[in-house]
Amino acid sequence: MLSEAKHPGLARSVALIALAAIVLALPFLLRALGFDFYLSLASRIVVYAIAATSLNLVLGYGGMVSFGHAAFVGLGAYVTGVMISEGVQSGSAHLGAVVLVTAFAALAIGAISLRTRGVYFIMITLAFAQMLFYLANSVKGYGGDEGLNVRARSLFSLGGWVLDLKNPLALYYVALAVLAASLFALARFVPSRLGYAMLAIRDDDVRAEAIGFPTYRYKLVVFVAAGVLGGIAGALSVNLQGYVSPNALHWTQSGTLMVMVILGGVATVWGGVAGAAVLLLLQEMLGSWTEHGEFWTGWVLLAVVLFARRGLVGIALSRRAQSAT
């Protein structure tokens, strides 16, 4: 049931406020501790959190196991990268282009894929993503299989103010703002009419259709929304790394995003954030201790699947439900 919409207790409110404070003050805390270089990791977590949340929307809440979601993230990154390479630096132009291109791509891919179901849907979304991957590989003018390096970044100008995402602080806060907005929108979506309709559709879409929900239409709407949000994450990621390669669209990237969602908690508002944070921190820690970070990451993931079925947020939710009784 939609128990996340309950009123939080006092302890939980305090914890949330503390968390918000830390997150907002993070760059300064890191500098004070001499850990400046960790700011890029923090920004990477935020950007991946946005991407994972967008996947959670289509996968967790929409019930659509899309194995090609990384393609939208990569598409957003490439659109931004290509525009910057061509001399267009305006952040609003980037945003507009990314939204238009990913919306169109998601609409086309979703319209076709959603006519199939089950494993066939998984395969078709995978196929489309691979097509885009091979396309990215073959555009020699923009790096081809070696990837595209980007020197400049997105610039946003409001009145006299200029926000250059080359500034790591600016990037961090802009990404944080996007994440916060996404989580807020998601939290409003879950108990709304569409959120409830999607719950019915993912529980039993034959029944949902039989009671009068236009299931194809609603699934397509969610698919496109998720694709656009993914594209925005991609635009932020190219700003963060100054680089985009076709690997960003490879199916293993989609797999990584999926791992984050399942790890954090499918169909929970914070699932994408939790999953991204845990996986990236895990990789970072293991990577610094041993050369074989992937090996140990794999074991941790395996443990989560076998013993923590609802993901990390799911564990937290059920603990809270238990202590409330």
Partner: protein, 261 residues
């Protein structure tokens, strides 16, 4: 019938590979009646209902509902027009409570659900309507329970409540009494009888006695074909029906075997 039927299916054909599951079926359901569809196992009753409901496209034939040709109309639009069905194997929304299940059905029948901002809980009218429906089927006390906590009979009753959500003109109940004990069957029978003033009912059932008590008219489906249609008394006396289904011990298993391919 003196007036136009509410539902008129003509020449319906459905093939699965070499098997003809629905063989040129004509079915007419009059407004306000309880029309029962009976037949041995494997006769193709659920296949027929699936074509009427839109879950299965028919290969040939036409379906006319309230004067409009709905043969190619998608399921959700049929539901919106007042033609709804329940399922032989109970299909409910496991993540939602009993009340929420019915509320979802009401929501689906009222307006668009493309809003992603306002919480549904604020729509009092929706939940009031849902509560009334639960009351009608005798599940008012179970409103806050999870689906898993309901008995089989209660789940079937919930399904009926959900089909009534949009104030439909025609409700197709696919074996609502399947798997029920004596007491639960009696209650379901009462429930169905009570639907008489509310809507037209197409009832697919196995329990022949209950059918003969409830139905105004009966159609008998054998091997995908309608072999008889008429009042319960007339159908009961029809020698073809008796041979194929009701009494003849030698014939009935053969017919059932041949039908259940």
């Amino acid at each position: 019938m003196t007036e136009l039927p509410l539902l008129a299916a003509r020449g319906l054909v459905k093939r699965f590979g070499g098997l003809v599951a629905t063989d040129h079926v004509d079915l007419f359901v009059g407004r306000g009646e309880i029309h029962a569809l009976i037949g041995p196992n494997g006769a193709g009753k659920t296949t027929l209902v699936a074509q009427l409901g839109g879950q299965l496209p028919c290969d040939e034939g036409r379906i006319v509902f309230a004067g409009d040709d709905i043969t190619r109309l998608p399921t959700h639009l049929r539901a919106r027009r007042g033609l709804v069905r329940s399922f032989q194997i109970t299909r409910l929304f496991a993540s939602a409570s009993v009340l929420e299940n019915v509320a979802l059905a009401v929501q689906a029948a009222r307006g668009s659900s493309l809003g992603a901002w306002r919480p549904v809980r604020r729509e009092r009218a929706l939940f009031d309507a849902a509560r009334t429906l639960l009351d009608d089927v005798g599940l008012a006390a179970q409103a806050q329970l999870a689906i898993g906590a309901l008995s089989h009979g209660q789940r079937r009753a919930l399904e009926v409540a959900m089909t009534l959500a949009g104030e439909p003109a025609l409700v197709m109940l696919d074996e609502p009494m399947a798997g029920m004990g004596h007491e639960e069957s009696a209650r379901m029978e009462q429930l169905i009888a009570g639907l008489r003033r509310r809507c037209t009912v197409l009832l697919i059932e196995h329990d022949v006695d209950a059918v003969f008590r409830l139905a105004d008219r009966v159609s008998v489906l054998v091997e995908g074909r309608v072999v008889a249609t008429g009042s319960p008394a007339a159908v009961r006396a029809d020698p073809g029906v008796i041979a194929a289904y009701l009494g003849d011990a030698a014939e009935a298993p053969e017919a059932a075997d041949a039908a259940s391919a």
